[in-house]
């Protein structure tokens, strides 16, 4: 499976990456060589092997259900570009 230029354009758009015309061929080649490695790995018989979700041989620690964070809005909003009435303001999102 090889990626075409249009596939890379689509992925770049989904990731909000602005690639210019000069970068596209280089990125397409790089991605295809990674996919080549994946193809190679897919040739291995993995029957009966549990999929690996995480490289660490450990399971998730859980925390007790307690509120430990206090209101720090002022501090956090001090570095926000724009706020009003306690809200973060962003360019208008039209549904």
């Amino acid at each position: 499976m090889a990626l075409e230029r249009c596939d890379v354009e689509k992925i770049a758009h989904l990731a909000r990456l602005g690639l210019n015309d000069g970068e596209l061929p280089r990125i397409t080649d790089a991605l295809n060589s990674i996919l080549g490695l994946v193809d190679q790995m897919q040739a291995v018989d993995t029957t009966g092997i549990e999929p690996l979700a995480h490289p660490l041989e450990a399971s998730q620690r859980l925390r007790p259900d307690q509120v430990t964070e206090s209101n720090q809005r002022e501090a956090y909003q001090a570095i926000a570009p724009s706020t009003e009435s306690g809200l973060y303001l962003v360019p208008k999102v039209i549904e």
Partner: protein
Amino acid sequence: MQWEVVIGLEIHTQLATQSKIFSGSATTFGSEPNTQASLVDLGMPGVLPVLNQEAVRMACMFGLAIDAEIGKRNVFARKNYFYPDLPKGYQISQMELPIVGKGHLDIALEDGTIKRIGVTRAHLEEDAGKSLHEDFSGSTGIDLNRAGTPLLEIVSEPDMRSAKEAVAYVKAIHALVRYLGICDGNMAEGSLRCDCNVSIRPKGQAEFGTRCEIKNVNSFRFIERAINSEIQRQIDLIEDGGRVIQETRLYDPNKDETRSMRSKEEANDYRYFPDPDLLPVVIEDSFLDTIRAGLPELPPQKVERFQSQYGLSAYDANVLASSREQADYFEEVVKIGGDAKLAANWVMVELGSLLNKLGIEIDQAPVSAEQLGGMLLRIRDNTISGKIAKTVFEAMAAGEGDADSIIESRGLKQVTDTGAIETMLDEMLAANAEQVEQYRAADEAKRGKMFGFFVGQAMKASKGKANPGQVNQLLKAKLEG
């Protein structure tokens, strides 16, 4: 053409934890904007999510209650999309290995039959923040208090065949999560939200038609109306030679129609992958055993017990068990008042219409279960008639105290003294001598209605306080006389 409707639902329930799923921020609804949004919720670089044990426990409770396989090793994944109320650029959710696998739930249909609805899966995820589009001249305001609130997304099989079935299923899920105490079920506050997948196919066809998803419907009534309007739209479209396009739609209750949300379409490629910040969650059998042992009595068991223990009809048992609060209220009334059928009637009819009128839930009822039970005692020992009881009930609802003090202060005690009733009847009959003549001259068939007139006059004369049974009996004797 005969069309068959196919509906599957995705229900998002906010879990009733104190803190968020991956941070120690509070989850209280309605707080000042962004006062419950910590660095983790804001998606700041360098922070790490730590999973809330209570969210895991609640998800397992739900899984056990619907007889589902529990994902003994479940995995969190990133669902990638960009939106301002999702600061990280991804939502932590579960994809391949959810915490709750295949289960099922039975719903009662209007004709009294029971239908089993499959639950495909239920997975844990974090809620997004809220975008406010009004009032900020050219900008959108973002409140991240909700970001990171734990959600259990419950995905059904496409097993429902009408809007009514879909609503019955949502109601059953709603009742269940409230019984379990894992979600407050407040749809107006968004604690339980529903996405409806709707398609149609010619009756008898095996393959499904193309489906549309109606997003975020937030009341039982709107779910039914949104689905019905979408069904009609699809039928009209196909019968006019068009075809349904798979897309996300929004329901507009004012126009009673669904409309396309085109903006969401190109985003429909979420590129899920396991979240490297979170290890697989391992559920131990001992953890599940403890939860199983602590499960409350659930709606189906309660309905069965209400029928066998109290001799209620299936319908009454279903109505009373539809919420845990109502079932508890009813049982408290029975405990004090003693007569289950009488209690069922008062809770469903008088209390039900009072709550309806006031637009409140049973846990805010102005008449407590103790008060209602106490009043039923007075009906049963003939202190008051059922009719006077309505006056007493209204007075209790108005905050005038309990039944005994109202009966005392208003002088509502039923008159059961035969002598006193007879005197009252004699006076009443004397005042209606003409009607008495007519009654005695009338044939049997006509007497029934005329008898009712005298009962009415007698009750009026006694201000409703004469014992109706005695009035009937004595009046009959006097008129025959």
